[in-house]
Amino acid sequence: MSDMHQHSIRFVRETMLPQAAPPVAERGIVKWMRENLFSNLANSILTLLALLAVYYLAVETLPWMLNGIWDAPSIRACREILDGNVGGCFAVLTDRWNQLLFGFKYPSEEYWRPSLAFLLLFAAAAPVMFFKYLPGKLLIFTAIYPFLAYWLIWGGPFLAPVVALLGFVAGYVVWNRFVTSSFAAGFFGAIAAAAVTWWLGGVIVDAVAPENSLLPSVPSRDMGGFMLNMILGVVCVSLSIPFGIALALGRQSSMPIIKWICVIFIEFVRGVPLITLLFVANVVLAYFLPPGATFDLIIRVIIMITAFASAYIAEVIRGGLAALPRGQYEAADSLGLDYPQAMRLIILPQALKISIPGIVNVAVGLFKDTTLVSVISMFDLVGMIRGPILASTDWNGVYWELFGFAALLFFVVCYGISQYSQWLERELTTDHR
């Protein structure tokens, strides 16, 4: 019996066959190309067209970029070196590097100050951006940063930003002390404390400030180049967030007058282009200031851009507020919290979390829009290019290199921020599903 089996079946395979390689068309790069590039006729045509486009783009730009001249004093010298060959005159970037970054009036021996402030910006932003991974204590540096950066960039007496900081500290202390008893007492007490500190501080600073301070002061008129875009972007976005929150709460408020004030402001600002607001800053606002008082153009522009950004951020936050389930509001009410408490402890933390990607989008848009100040004779990056650099005898006619550089600079910053925003969005998903 036992050997029946042996005879009845001539062959039994006892080991696995070695795995055969998949057919050529079904593996590796070929498979990938078949599936992703040539899956059907239409797709193949699209691929060929795309390849053609890439090829032409490369043929047009690569020699220009690779042949680029990086060291020449003027466009004529540059053309002589190129001697009729295709190539970019990137020498304009090296020649005017500092002007592109800092404008043409910032004292050259002080360039380290804005550079340092720029580097510190990362240190200050990190605790906010990666709040899950960094200890909360670091936020103290973030709080100090605006004053430090102000002092670094503008210079002047060291005491001035210190007093400004002290004002906020005093306000915060008073607020902490009284807010438990009543929101109004905390709020107005904080404002009063800050005002008193600033007033006292102002007197003291004027009295004791040494004539030649540690860092020589630089007037705001002298800010320019990409630094001006950064200053406007960072300052206006940070200032507009608190205003935006206030406007959003106002618009959601049940008090009709407050609601309508906010609605009118938001809709008005969102309805007009930023450039008209900049015209206002430039040619009209001066008429509305008290006689004799003039602000620097940069301050007027900051006011208008902040107003502009606040309206957009208010709409984003309103979206966040509306997206919260009603239960959250009712839960806060049933705990017996009053309005400020409910907002501070329950509603805003959640609403702001939902709104962060939207706020980042507004911030990126706003940062791009800071280039519009070049239209009102401010020398930001684009203003420097369109004005002093292209108008100079040396570099008259170098467009592609300069505009390409500006585009690249903005691309790097904005793309970086938007990638961060997407990462944060994934990070913050707290779906209960």
Partner: protein, 338 residues
Amino acid sequence: MNKSVFLGAVTVAGLAAGAAAAATIDDVKARGKLNCGVTTGLVGFAAPDANGEWNGFDVAVCRAVAAAVLGDPTAVEFVPTTGKTRFTALASGEIDMLARNTTWTFSRDVDLKFEFTGINYYDGQGFMVPKGLGVSSAKELDGATVCIQTGTTTELNLADFFRKNNISYEPVPIETNAEAQQQYLAGACDAYTTDASGLAATRATFETPADHVILPEIISKEPLGPLVRHGDSEWGDVVRWTLNALIAAEELGVTSANIDEMAAGTNSPEVNRLLGTEGTLGEMLGVDKDWAVRAIKAGGNYGEIFARNIGEETPIGLARGLNAQWTDGGLLYAPPFR
């Protein structure tokens, strides 16, 4: 800077109660700086160089005024203005004076309430065309595309000229001089029109200036000069007579080279009065007696300023023409210093 911008901003409410506008000259002295409005960049008249220093013909007027009032020709804050912003900047007090190739017209003087304090350059609007076009007169420009820099009287003159001669054209308005050059050089317009001095300055920056001609027609009168706000005649006088001092200095032969010598006293009474060794002209003006000495030292007399910034030796290469002294057949005629 004691009153830092930030504290200024936070204590704005306190500032708000500030007194009504004081006399400009006192403001300038208190500030220690003259705020002078200039163009955003026109080589030869006002343009920042590679180091960010402002240079040019209009800039020299600002420096002379600063030297006269404050004793320091570098105590000037140059505020770049566009055609659109210049008048508001002046009217709102952001700048103390405007030296920006501004044409003296009736409506600007009367309707916009400014005071022109003199003429530092007699200009006129002209046309520049490429030589290859074979045009020798502006009247042959029928149907041409003309680039204009906006924000000047240029548009109006151009419209008038073509209407008067009953020929058509197509205007291409451009915001900045650099972009106008780009358009013109690329052939996007057949002709470029602006003040003749501006055309010369622009042509000087071209790679091959000889390929472009400036047409003989000057289609407008453009007396350019510094201006101040209406209603502050004391300050207007300071600017007016600083400019006159520069012009008179050339007429009287006072130059930056010989001024120290002459300031010690000469036997020409007019020179002595101008340089403060005789009479009290300085005090009448509200400055001290050496004001004109300093103003002339700042950049030389009118002739020196002209020669250094836009004269025939420079790439811009403008002849004196109408801007010669009246004694040489020009229009410059400073009222007497007495």
